[in-house]
């Protein structure tokens, strides 16, 4: 079976600083795949290359038969690949509702807009209370909920999630991970970048460990959780 997303030998550098060296990974349809690693390993950079905010030096990225390296960021979104970026990046001077509407900006998503807003608000009831409020005035957790709900508005086939648990309370972290599993159960494939290694490996089918720009380890979520190197490096055991 050909994977939904296949990244092969991705090289990326900021100027002279090589950030990614030959990163290869794949996501099969229906899977949650997680990319874990410490700060600065190149996890976010990998996602930003896939969504085309950054241009790789070398390597191929194919999504459902389409060569992503030939596309502009907005064309990647139109294919059904939605990137929820690090640090939320909600539109601060727009209301919660306007942010959600922006999530369904692409033509194919507009017809189901009302239905998807309803669905997002069901996933995160807190947003319903804040619907008319400017996104910049929300708390960090609420902004994270909004960012995820906004990312789902286009009913993506593949969701790229960057550090959804960053800066959230432990209780909210659990909620967010349960929600990701729930979104996946409804048919969206997920590529999840996380520093919270335990939680993400718990819900992921497969995982990759990124170390200073290289894939150091890969395997099923369970096998990585049991791996002694992973335990030593990330789980404090």
């Amino acid at each position: 079976m050909t994977p939904l997303l296949e990244v092969r030998d991705l090289d990326f550098a900021y100027g002279d600083v090589q950030v990614l060296r030959g990163v290869s990974l794949s996501v099969n349809a229906g899977e949650i795949v997680t990319l874990v690693g410490s700060n600065g390993a190149g996890k976010s950079t990998t996602l930003r290359n896939i969504s085309r905010l950054l241009r790789p030096r070398a390597g191929t990225m194919v999504f459902d038969g389409h060569d992503l390296t030939r596309l502009a960021p907005h064309q990647v979104v139109a294919l059904g690949v939605v990137h929820v970026p690090e640090a939320r990046r909600v539109f601060p001077e727009m209301t919660v509702l306007e942010n959600l509407r922006m999530g369904s900006y692409i033509a194919s998503a507009r017809a189901e807009r009302a239905k998807n807003i309803e669905r997002g608000l069901m996933l995160f009831p807190r947003l319903k209370e804040r619907i008319g409020q400017l996104a910049g005035t929300l708390s960090g957790g609420e902004q994270q909920m909004l960012a995820i709900a906004r990312g789902l508005m286009a009913r993506p086939r593949l969701l790229l999630l960057d550090e959804p648990s960053l800066g959230l309370s432990p209780l909210l972290v659990r909620t967010i991970f349960d929600t990701i599993a729930q979104i996946n159960a409804q048919g969206t494939s997920v590529l999840l970048v996380e520093q919270n290694v335990y939680q993400s490996l718990r819900i992921a089918a497969r995982g990759y460990v990124l170390e200073t720009g290289r894939i150091a380890l890969s395997g099923t979520g369970e096998s990585l959780l049991a791996n002694s190197e992973v335990k030593a490096a990330f789980l404090g055991a």
Partner: protein, 288 residues
């Protein structure tokens, strides 16, 4: 008291035009972070369009807005696609050089084609006025303000209610995040520059019956638009509208109560005071 009201109201009316040029400038800056120093020269192009439409075809200057706006939109979109687009990632001083250069080319082309003669567009109602109690308001100025109001309201509706308007605001607030929503930010740049130019064109059409028309008239409008935008807060549309009215009013009051040739001085004193007390402008932080 009548004198005060009279000059304050006239100031507000002319301030509407300053607001219009300022809103164009702030829209362009918001979306592309480029300061368009050719804004006033686009006003000049709008004035000449209006003048010739009136002289050759007899089209009323206030009606010609519906022709000058689309024409200037196309001119602006073309400038953006062919020239501005190339310097989006360049240093700010290089962007400034380019927009100043575009302004020079526009004004010198106008001088070549139309000579540097001052022209006056006089309509049947040019010197008529409307009485409001003890106050008399110039008819062209009143029309000018009403149309400005309609255009500003339409723009505001577009930005707040439509998907494309949302995309423009989103691009201004977070360019990367907008791309991740599927917004073609390059196209938004073309659209913003087109709209900004169309607003300059509208301002040109509206002041054509009030001001002398000559190739170098743009410089004064650029400077005023810049003051209006900085005063209101870079990137804020409501700020630009407010700044425009404020500048128009202080200009007009200063001309009456201090001295006619001191009015610009007063405008810049107010400008410097605002910068000193609130460097981010009156409505500093908020963006579209």
């Amino acid at each position: 008291m009548a004198v005060f009201l009279q000059s304050a109201l006239s100031g507000i009316l002319i301030g509407g035009v300053y607001a219009l040029t300022g809103i164009g400038l702030t829209l362009i800056f918001g979306v592309m972070r480029v300061i368009n120093f050719a804004q006033g020269d686009l006003v000049m192009v709008g004035m000449y369009c209006t003048f010739w439409l009136f002289v050759l075809l007899g089209i009323d200057p206030f009606l010609s807005v519906v022709l000058t706006m689309p024409a200037l939109f196309l001119l602006g979109a073309l400038l953006q696609r062919t020239l501005i687009n190339r310097v989006l990632d360049a240093l700010p001083q290089n962007q400034i050089l380019l927009t100043i250069g575009i302004g020079l080319v526009l004004s010198n082309t106008a001088m070549l084609v139309f000579t540097s003669d001052y022209r006056i567009l006089s309509t049947s109602y040019s010197s008529s006025s409307v009485a409001l109690g003890v106050i008399r308001l110039s008819t062209p100025l009143l029309f000018c303000f009403l149309i400005t109001g309609v255009i500003t309201a339409a723009l505001y509706w577009f930005l707040v209610k439509t998907d494309t308007g949302h995309a423009i605001r989103a691009t201004a607030q977070d360019r990367d995040a907008a791309q991740l929503m599927g917004v073609n930010v390059r196209f938004m740049g073309v659209l913003a520059f087109g709209l900004g130019s169309a607003l300059a064109g509208a301002a040109g059409a509206l002041v054509a019956p009030i001001y002398y028309i000559y190739p170098q008239v743009g410089g004064a409008f650029t400077l005023k638009a810049f003051v209006v935008v900085v005063l209101g807060g870079m990137g804020s549309i409501i700020g630009a509208a407010l700044g425009g009215i404020l500048i128009g009013m202080s200009e007009s009051l200063a001309a009456v109560y201090i001295a006619a040739d001191m009015k610009d001085l007063c405008v810049y004193v107010i400008f410097l005071l605002v910068l000193l007390l609130k460097p981010s402008g009156l409505l500093g932080k908020s963006r579209m």
